[in-house]
């Protein structure tokens, strides 16, 4: 089959990019979307042009590296799938496709379809972990976990951090990502003690990263390759409201600082 692609080309973070039109005449329907781009790139290299840069690693849908917009939908038209696992049989001969990088202030474009997602790493560093004192691993069944919580924690833990939720969200909010981490950890006994601290830290980090606010639209849920549900966001909201109510989740020094900063912020 034959495809027309309009791809965002941008040499570096500073340059202003633009859409460029390409014809791909010999697409095999068994190729994955990334393999189709590999074919285009070989063509471009043979012609002495710059190949299209895109992120990828495992190509098995488990690492979270790949991802861009196809006709305005993160990871393309197939639900619950990353672009590396999206096959060309889901497209029609002669179709025109627009490929664009994730768009969010927190995800600056580095080159073509590649964006910098370090903001996600900083969100995790802020609170998306549990503090463990090292030692020998505890016995597997020493801590009992209700089956339902276990399943829901697993569902949330399926998040691969690709950023599709932010890209698709009309508000460029990172709520589905944060909610997934908060639910994954908070549903398990090991993660519960740091619940308050975690949500307060992650929420304030997301404000600093200039992610938008969630308005419960649900486009993130629709494109998430791991089909993470909006319920994780409600859980984050609940944890945040609880931490606010009790005033917990902030260390003594931070308490001073947070209050001073936010007071200054609110005066501005």
């Amino acid at each position: 089959m034959r495809l027309t692609l309009h791809i965002w080309r941008q040499r570096n973070a500073q340059e202003k990019g633009r859409m460029v039109r390409y014809e791909v005449p010999n697409v095999n329907q068994d190729m994955s979307f990334l393999e189709m781009l590999d074919v285009l790139n070989e063509d471009l290299i043979a012609k002495g042009e710059e190949p299209v840069a895109f992120d990828h690693d495992c190509r098995e849908g488990i690492c979270g590296m790949c991802g861009f917009m196809i006709n305005g939908v993160a990871h393309g038209p197939l639900r619950g799938t990353t672009v590396c696992q999206l096959h060309m049989r889901h497209f029609r001969d002669g179709q025109e496709l627009y490929l664009e990088p994730w768009r969010a202030r927190a995800f600056p474009v580095m080159r073509d379809l590649v964006v910098n997602r370090s903001a996600f790493d900083r969100l995790i560093a802020a609170g998306g972990f549990i503090s463990v004192s090292t030692g020998s691993a505890p016995d597997g069944n020493a801590i009992l976990v209700p089956k339902e919580n276990c399943d829901r924690a697993m569902d949330a833990a399926a998040c691969i951090g690709c950023g599709a939720c932010v890209a698709m969200c009309p508000n460029a909010s990172a709520s589905l990502f944060m909610g997934a981490k908060i639910s994954h950890l908070g549903l398990l006994p090991q993660g519960r003690p740091e619940r308050d601290k975690r949500v307060v830290a992650m929420v304030s980090q997301s404000i600093a990263e200039k992610f938008g606010s969630c308005t419960n639209i649900g486009e993130c849920e629709a494109v998430c390759p791991k089909e993470i549900r909006l319920e994780v966001i409600a859980r984050m909201n609940r944890d945040f409201l609880r931490a606010t109510w009790t005033g917990r989740g902030v260390s003594r020094d931070e308490a001073e600082q947070v209050s001073n900063n936010s007071l200054a912020e609110s005066r501005r």
Binding site: G72, R103, A172, V203, S213, G218, E231, A234, T244
Partner: protein, 234 residues
């Protein structure tokens, strides 16, 4: 690390500084406005009572000078809610614009999210409607109002004569359709914003929101339609 409880004032500041806090304010003020809209609908439907004085007696009851403090207390609470609701929505809108300075050349939407995406349109139009509605039936600046006695408006006559103007009736109908859209998303959204969501009752909550939204719009819209078709007349 030792944890400290943050002082209440600072806690409130921290709360409102976060988008989640602003959404919670929208949800709580939304519940107040929703409760008012439900109560208002029940009041309005009395126009269908076989006893034509029913709705006027209800109006006189609300306007009873003995209860003026209560009336003005409720009005103040509603005004405060509207102001807080709109303030938070504007602040979130600013945040949204800052979060994606460069938009997409092509962007698709999830069709089911239509009501959610149009909250920022339905909201302001409903606000304009509220102002018009108060000028029309409370202040009497649009059409002259009739009174039976001081503090006893002839609500039945005023509503019927108002809706005999097609433009007025049409604006009420359009505003109620937008309110339906607003509540269709909003009533579910407030549960989500307050953290009430669980696989077991999410579908139920969404159905509840849809039923409330449709019932409120249908109930209110029936009145201008009844007047225009002549089912309700003086």
């Amino acid at each position: 690390m030792s944890s400290a409880a943050v002082a209440p004032l600072h806690r409130a500041v921290r709360f409102y500084a976060a988008p989640i806090g602003k959404k919670a304010v929208m949800a709580i003020t939304g519940v107040i406005l929703f409760g008012y809209v439900v109560g208002h609908l029940l009041g309005n439907l009395q126009i269908y009572a076989a006893d034509h004085d029913q709705i006027n007696r209800y109006a006189a009851f609300l306007h009873d000078p003995g209860r003026a403090t209560l009336l003005w207390g409720v009005r103040a609470l509603l005004l405060l809610s509207v102001v807080a609701h709109i303030t938070a929505s504007v602040q979130l809108w600013v945040l949204k614009r800052e979060a994606r300075p460069i938009g997409y050349v092509k962007k698709d939407d999830v069709p089911a999210a239509y009501a959610a995406r149009t909250m920022l349109w339905s909201g302001p139009i409903i606000a304009a409607f509220i102002i018009f509605h108060i000028l029309h039936l409370t202040a009497g600046s649009v059409l002259p109002l009739q009174e039976i006695a001081p503090n006893q408006p002839d609500v039945r006559a005023n509503v019927i004569s108002g809706f005999q103007h097609p433009a007025v009736a049409l604006f009420y109908i359009v505003a109620m359709l937008l309110l339906c859209l607003h509540l269709y998303h909003g009533v579910w959204s407030m549960f989500q914003s307050m953290g009430v969501s669980h696989p077991r009752y999410t579908t139920g909550l969404k159905r509840f929101a849809a039923i409330c939204a449709i019932a409120i719009a249908a109930g209110n819209i029936s009145i201008p339609i009844a007047v225009m078709t002549g089912l309700l007349s003086n």
